[in-house]
């Protein structure tokens, strides 16, 4: 009995620790007052409305969406063939490539961002926009390669050979046999990549400039000047979006099988 009580206590504390801040943010966002505060002063939805009326939020949301979808798409275009080659053929140095590809998750974001700014953007005169796009693609690439490799490894090579003998070309066998069977892995990689890119702060911090900011960077900038609950409202909205995506992914493809 005592044992059971302590189990529930630990579980309760853990959940409070994980979910507590989220609940506090929602409460703060529903405040009718003008300052970000907890407990909220009165109840209203006006800060949620304010989020949608703020031009800079709308613009930076667009930038973040574009980066998350476009960057992840590009990472998959590179990552799926790479994962295929590394699992199917005995490519010399495949392990090395896997490690290099993973380096953006190993190296701290601050360093990646600073390095890109100092040694890529400034000396080569690359625009902030393309640099940001490249950086997000690179950051997502490790997820694309790893998650897709994992689902590719379960796929036997003789299925493709069977397709070849039934009249497929090599590419045809990839398209008709490999792709449909790794669809779940690709979707899982896309969702992971999207969430990673969308919530990215440190790298984007270095590669933002006037007129071009991702949403998280814009939120930081906003908070430096205004201290109203609209940031809390925006955070709550983003959290709901992430929860929605993950929930749908779990429901339709069983995301937890892949990550």
């Amino acid at each position: 009995m005592n044992n059971r009580l302590s189990t529930w206590l630990i579980l309760g504390l853990t959940l409070t620790f994980l979910i507590g801040p989220f609940l506090i943010i929602i409460a703060a966002a529903l405040s009718a007052g003008n300052n970000l505060a907890f407990p909220p002063q009165g109840l209203s939805l006006k800060w949620f409305i304010k989020v949608f009326e703020t031009d800079s939020f709308r613009a930076s949301f667009g930038v973040s969406m574009f980066l998350a979808i476009g960057g992840t798409f590009c990472a998959l275009c590179l990552g799926v063939p790479a994962a295929y080659a590394m699992t199917r053929f005995k490519v010399p140095g495949a392990e090395m490539v896997k490690m290099i590809v993973s380096s953006p998750i190993i190296v701290p974001g601050i360093i990646v961002g600073l390095a890109l700014l100092r040694y890529f953007v400034i000396p080569l005169g690359v625009g902030i926009g393309p640099a940001l796009f490249l950086a997000h693609t690179a950051l997502v690439l490790p997820y694309a390669v790893r998650v897709v490799s994992a689902s590719m490894e379960n796929l036997r090579a003789d299925m493709e050979e069977a397709a070849l003998l039934l009249g497929c070309t090599r590419f045809g066998a990839f398209r008709r046999i490999v792709l449909p069977n790794i669809r779940g892995g690709i979707l899982a990689a896309f969702i992971l990549g999207f969430v990673t890119s969308f919530n990215q702060v440190p790298v984007s911090l270095f590669l933002s400039g006037p007129g071009l900011r991702t949403l998280p960077i814009d939120m930081i900038a906003y908070m430096e000047i205004n201290y109203d609950p609209s940031v809390a409202a925006l955070s709550a909205l983003l959290a709901f979006m992430s929860i929605g995506i993950i929930f749908a992914a779990e429901r339709f493809i069983g995301l937890s099988r892949y990550v």
């Binding site: 036997r156 003789d158 299925m159 050979e161 069977a162 397709a163 070849l164 003998l165 039934l166 009249g167 497929c168 070309t169 045809g172 008709r176 046999i177 449909p180 069977n181």
Partner: protein, 320 residues
């Protein structure tokens, strides 16, 4: 004779490792050939080369008068039934069988697929997914998938080895029936001599990347050329010929026990239904002996006399 399938001076390699060297083989139309041998003898490699999944280092492969040595697998009109079935898990049984026909944009698709499924007795399973089928059923789908393409040659890569003993016998007779009905030329790869003996018109026994012996099942069973061939065909006692060149081989049933010039100790005794199987330790090496049931019994540890009668021995050209 003009061969339907011909392999001429074929040398196959994986990188620098030579797997098959200088192989010559002709297969007649409608023939069922088995490539028999232990793992690593080059039988699967040879089959993959016929399928086009492996490009020969040198030599020539032709099918029905056409040189296919450099031709892509998809253009060879060759079917392959895999040991692992290799069904497409995302497609239904019907779509698996229809796969090749769809690529060819054939007319009367439904009728052809259903006819293919009927050949293997699976018409009721058309809408199932491969994962819902038993191993034997999956192998049948795989067979139907190849057969509906009406390939010139059907290759079968140890198709029965993942099935349990009863299913294996069932599928074996099914394959014989299909071959008889369709008259298709088959190349069947196996390491199981009883499978080869039961199915083949001709057996190609392979060893270390070369052909050891070719012949019909009776030839191989009754007159193996070498110790290796004899060993594969169930001769357990193989000794050098003490009066001439070559060697002599005895099956366990040919060895006489109870009397004779040799002596050995019973080391193992096991009951196998119609007979007892004994293992004798003797100065000639371990000798296996089968004694029909109802005859004298021997106990482990017992010292017994035995004879290797010359009249029951099969002469071998080579002992190794």
């Amino acid at each position: 004779m003009s061969d339907y399938v011909s392999l001429q001076n074929l040398t196959l390699a994986y990188g620098k490792t030579i797997a098959v060297e200088g192989l010559n083989l002709g297969i007649a139309k409608g023939e069922l050939i088995t490539l028999l041998g232990p793992s690593g003898c080059g039988k699967t490699t040879t089959m993959r080369a016929i399928a086009g999944l492996l490009t020969p280092k040198s030599g020539k492969i032709s099918i029905d008068g056409r040189d296919v040595t450099r031709l892509a697998p998809s253009k060879r009109e060759v079917g392959l039934v895999f040991q692992s079935y290799a069904l497409f898990p995302h497609l239904s049984v019907f779509e698996n069988v229809a796969f090749g026909l769809r690529l060819r944009r054939e007319a009367d698709l439904d009728a052809k697929v259903m006819a293919g499924l009927e050949t293997v007795g699976l018409t009721d399973f058309a809408s199932r997914q491969p994962a819902d089928l038993s191993g034997g059923q999956q192998q049948r789908v795989s067979l139907a998938r190849s057969l509906v393409m009406q390939p010139k040659v059907l290759l079968l890569d140890e198709p029965l080895s993942n099935l349990d003993a009863r299913l294996r016998l069932e599928m074996r007779s099914e394959l014989q029936r299909v071959q008889k009905d369709t008259g298709i030329t088959m190349v069947f790869v196996t390491h199981d001599q009883s499978e080869a003996l039961a199915l083949a018109d001709r057996i190609v026994l392979m060893r270390d990347g070369a052909i050891e012996q070719i012949g019909n099942p009776e030839d191989l069973y009754n007159a193996p050329v070498s110790g290796f061939a004899a060993d594969f065909m169930g001769f357990e006692t193989i000794l050098p010929n003490d009066t001439g060149p070559g060697g002599l081989a005895w099956r366990p049933g040919a060895v006489q026990i109870g009397t004779g010039p040799h002596s050995g100790q019973i080391r193992g005794a096991s009951f196998a239904g119609e007979h007892w199987e004994y293992v004798l330790a003797s100065p000639l090496g371990d000798i296996k002996v089968d004694v029909p049931k109802g005859q004298e019994r021997f106990e482990i540890g017992q010292q017994v006399a035995f004879d290797l009668p010359r009249s029951a021995a099969v002469p071998l050209a080579r002992v190794d």
